[in-house]
């Protein structure tokens, strides 16, 4: 075919370099991928909060947030929840096998623009911590660009927390406040207990010159907003990431539109103020 334009539908071939089973139920695994082609590796450049299409030839494609920070070079991390056809097939794959990566796609968090110089509050629930991990690592690598950083992260049980070794390491840093919580008391857990919204209310991060990045199940986001609003947070300070069904990743195929915007191209990151101006089709 005489292609006149660069083909955004062709995935880069990549090898599975490592697989980490993240949660005790086995439903979340982190895949470390290495792009095979040197040129592809050199070309690759992403912003925290962006995603990529993981492409399994013969099975299909699935949009997954990039869990690695741009500052981690030479590989890409994707933490994948087993939910549909493609993610199930991916979970059955082994180290050394080949997948395709198409991306990076979407806008990502404005880490080099609006977020610079601000106090950052990261709030995450369940397995929605992935692109926030990328964001946090990026901010820690450029620590001077941001003010106070607070992380509030919760899961149902200790065994369902992602990146447990890193959580421990972050807890020991003094340039970072971490609040890790689980929903109910569990044997062997001596940390915080309570839902993320409750903990967020207790931590009560100041809205002064601050931005909150929130990722989690809709119900968590819904209940996290009132305690924040109570202490003066406004919708334009709150960044959320949407997860609509996507296919092309180019803002063309129509699957992910929320009113006039395409989540794959104009998002997935939106401020809560932006979302208030859109139909609730997400």
């Amino acid at each position: 075919m005489t292609t006149l334009l660069p083909n955004p539908y062709i995935p880069y071939p990549a090898r599975i370099d490592d697989i980490v089973v993240e949660t005790e139920d086995g439903n979340l695994k982190t895949f470390r991928l290495v792009l095979e082609d040197e040129g592809d590796r050199a070309r690759w450049s992403h912003v925290p909060g962006q995603f990529a299409m993981l492409s399994l030839a013969g099975v299909g494609e699935i949009p997954i947030g990039i869990a690695s920070s741009p500052t981690e070079e030479g590989f890409l991390l994707f933490t994948v929840f087993r939910a549909g056809v493609v993610t199930t097939a991916l979970h059955q794959m082994d180290i050394g096998e080949r997948v395709g990566v198409r991306g990076p796609l979407g806008n990502g968090f404005p880490v080099d623009n609006d977020l610079k110089g601000k106090n950052i509050v990261i709030i995450a629930g369940g397995f929605a911590f992935t692109t926030l991990r990328a964001t946090l690592l990026y901010m820690l690598a450029n620590r001077g660009d941001y003010g106070k950083i607070t992380v509030i992260y919760g899961a149902r049980t200790p065994g369902l927390l992602l990146y447990r070794d890193e959580l421990k390491a972050w807890a020991e840093r003094d340039d970072l406040d971490t609040y890790i919580t689980i929903d109910r008391e569990a044997p062997g857990w001596d940390g915080l207990v309570g839902f993320v919204p409750t903990v967020a209310g207790q931590v009560a991060p100041s809205p002064e010159n601050a931005a909150a990045l929130i990722c989690g199940p809709p119900i968590m986001i819904k209940f996290t907003m009132p305690p924040l609003e109570k202490i003066g947070w406004t919708d334009d300070q709150v960044y959320l990431s949407l997860e609509n069904r996507m296919k092309c990743g180019q803002g063309v195929c129509g699957h992910c539109n929320v009113g006039p915007v395409y989540v794959c191209k104009d998002g997935p990151v939106f401020t809560r103020a932006q979302l208030q101006g859109l139909p609730t089709e997400f």
Binding site: G58, N244, G259
Partner: protein
């Protein structure tokens, strides 16, 4: 711009000459002569190869389907790859080797259909497949003389004698034809077709008169430019929450006729098909009318209700698309009105939307 005068025989010769190096398509009647009561009988015109200088059938309104399949085929093979064990390139996607590279000429394209290619070009501007298909396809349009009862091209910014999207625009005047050669591709076709004479000044003024007369026959219920600006100025939520959506949804059966036969509906899905040792990734038509269109793996569906899906199609055409790209995503061909089994009439929807305060 070059304007030529042609007799029917000249046109027929063009078609024959073009067919030597290209595939020439035009609207033809799809029917079989079998007299059995169960004979396959499809008494409509649709796009088919014009062989032996056959003249396209242009008298009975628009062909059944739009021309989008020549630019956005159903399906398009995006790429293929091997899944054979031991193949070092197994699971590496490559552009298909046996892609259909034949040059095509579409003859008898009406102004609405020709314009649809320009509108679709806005979202597909950077799409390598659409652009490759566009590069190899020439459009020889025929301007309209009569108005179909479902036509509303002028309301959405088109014209029955418009030439947008055409490489050559043919207009019939009594017993002869005038051809406006619009693009380089059109010029190339004229060279290959051969033997047409330049039109005289008198003939050119007759062409202008005729076009003006046809234009005046096609009234419009609203000033199209004003309607477009009015719609862009309207509040998204006022349109979104308008009361008439639920009534439309009462009648709608949520099939894909309107989207699949629409020249400017371009939503697609992507899927892998495996045949023996080869995987092909295809994109094929999808419809925002279908509930699975937005269903997420978690089971959550942002447009799980019929009324949300019906609304999305019209909002996309008349609000979301214009806000993003400028024009309405509609050429007023009226196929959706003609083919809808429950008589959902997009002209009424447009009128209702324009009436929203």
């Amino acid at each position: 711009m070059k304007v030529l005068r042609l007799d029917k025989a000249d046109l027929e010769r063009w078609f024959v000459n073009w067919a030597k190096t290209r595939e020439v398509y035009g609207p033809l009647r799809q029917s079989s002569s079998d007299s059995k009561s169960i004979s396959v009988n499809k008494s409509y015109t649709d796009w088919a190869i014009l062989k032996d200088g056959k003249f396209p059938e242009l008298g009975t309104g628009l062909p059944k389907s739009p021309i989008k399949k020549f630019f956005f085929p159903q399906p398009e093979t995006l790429f293929t790859c091997s899944k054979r064990k031991g193949d070092p390139d197994a699971f590496v996607f490559k552009e298909p080797e046996n892609r259909d590279n034949a040059r095509k000429v579409l003859v008898g394209v009406r102004p609405c259909d020709a314009r649809s290619v320009e509108l679709n070009n806005l979202p597909f501007e950077k799409d390598p497949y659409f652009q490759a298909n566009r590069a190899k396809t020439a459009i020889v349009g025929f301007t309209c003389r009569d108005r179909c009862q479902t036509c509303f091209c002028k309301e959405v910014g088109g014209s029955p004698v418009g030439t947008e999207g055409m490489d050559i625009a043919v207009t019939q005047l009594d017993d002869f034809y005038m051809a406006e050669v619009i693009t380089e591709k059109g010029e190339e076709l004229v060279q290959e077709g051969g033997g047409a004479s330049e039109a005289s000044g008198e003939e050119i003024s007759r062409l202008k008169e005729s076009k003006a007369q046809v234009e005046s026959l096609f009234s419009s219920m609203s000033d199209p430019a004003q309607a477009l600006e009015a719609m862009k100025a309207k509040d998204l939520f006022a349109l979104y929450n308008a009361p008439f959506w639920s009534q439309l949804a009462d009648s709608c059966i949520n099939c894909g006729i309107c989207t699949f036969l629409c020249p400017t509906c371009y939503c697609f899905d992507i899927q892998d098909e495996v045949v023996k040792g080869t995987i092909r990734r295809i994109r094929y038509y999808d419809s925002c009318m279908f509930p699975l269109f937005t269903l997420q793996a978690s089971g959550h569906n942002p447009r799980g209700q019929k009324v949300q899906r019906v609304r999305n199609r019209f909002m996309h055409k008349f609000k979301y698309f214009p806000d993003r790209f400028g024009p309405f995503s509609c050429v007023g061909c009226g196929r959706c009105i003609r083919e809808c089994p429950v008589n959902i009439d997009i002209r009424e929807v447009l009128k209702d939307l324009l009436a929203v305060e």
